[in-house]
Amino acid sequence: MATTLDKVDVVTVGVGWTGGIIAAECAKAGLKVVGLERGKDRNTADFLMVHDEYRYAMRYDLMQDLSKETITFRNHRKMRALPMRQMGSFLLGEGLGGAGTHWNGQTWRFLPYDFEIKSMTDKKYGKNKLSADYQLQDWGITYDELEPYFDKFEKTAGLSGEDKNPFGGKRSSPYPTPAMKKTPILKKFETATSQLGYTPFMLPSANLSEAYTNPDGESISACQYCGFCERFGCEYGAKTSPEITVVPTARKTGNFDVRFHANVVEVMKQGNKVTGVKYIDTQTGEEYIQPAEVVALTSYVMNNAKLLMVSGIGEQYNPETQKGTLGKNYAYQVLPGTTGFFDEQMNVFMGAGSLGMTIDDLNGDNFDHSDLDFIHGGSISMTQTGTRPIQTNPIPPDTPTWGAEFKKASIYNYTRTLNVSTEGASMPHKENFMSLDPDYKDAYGVPLLQLTYNFTDQDRNLHKYLTAKTSDIMKEMGAKTVMAGSPITNYDIVPYQTTHNTGGTIMGASPDNSVVNNYLQHWNADNLFVVGAGNFAHNSGYNPTGTVGALAYRAAEGIINYSKNGGSLV
């Protein structure tokens, strides 16, 4: 029998970026907030010995314990879905800060085009640019409407960057801190892309170029370029993370409490309102019900969708009929890229997660697609994230993958190899979706989320086109050997690709085609907010966290408004 606790104003399920932002804003506004975090407490002091590729990058010390919970996966509906037993394609977070602790810090605003992609594509290329199998739709909000929230997130994060991207949306203020240092490796890319007629600029970074105090009074340190960002926490507090910004902001109000080892298994619903959540204390096994005026689902894309599914909130998407909205429009990304082998040695082991230069000339609708067999594109970057020796064993084409020749080549090329890489956009397809698995359960007896996903022709065409462009850039950079990425075939959940999973709880202007409105308020329950990259109706050609942060600020405003006035916010 579950113990029922005292009612609070707001409960957040998960305390990463979205939960932290909502907690900070609501607690500042005087609301009593409880954050339920299934993982443990952690902060900068836990990362002193983090320069450990084996423990953190290979054995995923900061990430989700898959023995407790994972997902199942299949490429298409006729395949038997099986559990993702080991971490691979994407890296799920756990613990205070969530994936916001071990991210790289590349913090973008999606393009104005992204938010109105359906209308703008139809207008420019006609209604049949993509087949009806692609479920393209506008997001129910425009870039201009979202701009103040982008601005707020960037100020909270102290983002470092330069306003030189000719394709970016209009900014109400400059980046809070200057761009990071332009290294010799980045300059190579800058020169080559400029010569090819593109417009390179420093990538917007949450690894800060200088010490900064944000509007909430939280301090973020200056990056030391130590080369341990992705998969690691920052021992300096120089990579903006929830646990050094929004979480302490929420805590110092006195209105916020985080409960650790608290794994939410159900959202409780009565009529057209939610009443709270049920969670299990993973240390004692005890069940609790936390009643709340407002429930905010602020865990990862997959868990947010799963909780709605197991709680029976909303209509599950059905790919046969294309009816239902929950689980619809799951999207991922494709990563066109080219490896170049050089003669000279470079300081590849130095770097930071978002130290890089980018061109946006081939992203969004920044170039003409009239004669192309795909829409959208991707941001093309040279990043210097700090390559580490276990994971980085570059070998030229036709070199054996083990033995004497492998050893020589991988050691020689370790300091002589660069990659031009792309964050390629991903369009929703009717056969790519999330649902509940009928067979496999998590450690608490709750069904696993089932992912049905494959790359589509749109992905393959986009990948092929942009791979050729990255190859041209690498040639211009003067690489001795240029090795373009192989064409993509079927999505494979084994190799790491990107943790940029999106969709499933998408936002929109109508309950007919979306799960939440543009305040991330659930269409079926006014006091339920679902926040994260699950809200994206498609995935753009950038890292998602900037847009996730903006949406979280939007949701926080919505929750505060709802708490005052009730009802639907749109």
Binding site: D52, R59, S67, T183, P184, Y225, C226, Y414
Partner: protein, 252 residues
């Protein structure tokens, strides 16, 4: 065939266990077999910070097996990983770097028991895009793999794996890589990937994990290990060389 000659001499060394034990001070037979290069270098992992370990000659060999109980299996592992990452003019191979001990030690812990992996049934083979679907733990897969490699050696060459020529060992490893060997509950291709990956992990992990002895693999690759900051050098046009540092050099 310089590499093969070296391989051969190592095998001769393995056969002549009298010399191996005789050459050691305080080390056991196991240390003699695989830790030979460790002893020769006169140093184990760590470069200071810990009393009595960093920088001290390894007068006492405190390496031992935590997972394998059968020396023949451990010796197959040692020779197999050396073929994957061999000693050459650049520096030590997997044996010299302590990789067999690294793998043994890891198999005895969370890694070998798949503590952070979803291991609930039912189990089905699945498509390659769906990844690891075995009910076996990594520890069980490695043990089976060693036994199967030795069996393949006997089938193909009527010898123990460790008595084969380098090329013959490579033929067997390649057969595993190409999924031509039958294993129970797991494909030989998957086992090969695991073995190759663990070899690289053991070679290049921080020496605190008992591989990458003397940080020699980092030296070969010119990776500086645990440096706290590069802010002063990040804009340097020239390649910067560092004496590598292990996490064991940190104050605890």
């Amino acid at each position: 065939m310089a590499v093969d000659k070296k391989g051969l001499s190592r095998r001769d060394f393995l056969k002549t266990t009298g010399i191996a034990t005789g050459a050691l001070v305080g080390g056991g037979l196991i240390g003699g077999l695989v830790g030979y290069n460790v002893q020769k270098e006169g140093q184990v992992a760590g470069t200071g910070g810990h009393n009595g370990v960093g920088g001290e000659p390894a007068a006492v060999n405190n390496r031992g097996l935590m997972f394998f109980t059968n020396m023949a299996e451990f010796n197959v592992l040692a020779q197999a990983v050396e073929r994957i990452f061999p000693e050459d003019d650049l520096g030590p191979g997997a044996i010299g770097l302590g990789v067999p001990y690294f793998i043994d030690n890891q198999l005895a812990g969370n890694y070998g028991s798949n503590v952070k992996e979803y291991m609930q049934g039912p189990f089905f083979a699945g498509e390659s895009t769906q990844g690891y679907q075995s009910r076996l733990t990594r520890g069980e897969i490695f043990r089976q793999g060693m036994v199967r490699m030795d069996e393949e050696a006997k089938i193909r060459f009527e010898k123990n794996f460790v008595d084969l020529e380098g090329q013959q060992m490579d033929e067997i490893i390649t057969a595993f890589q190409k999924n031509e060997v039958d294993m129970k509950g797991v494909s030989s291709e998957f086992f090969f990937k695991l073995l190759r990956q663990a070899t690289l992990e053991g070679a290049y992990a921080d020496p605190i994990y008992n591989g990458n002895v003397n940080m020699d693999a980092w030296r070969m690759k010119e990776f500086p290990g645990n440096q706290m900051t590069y802010i002063a050098e990040i804009e340097n046009e020239k390649f910067v060389k560092y004496e590598p540092k292990s996490l064991s050099s940190m104050e605890h």
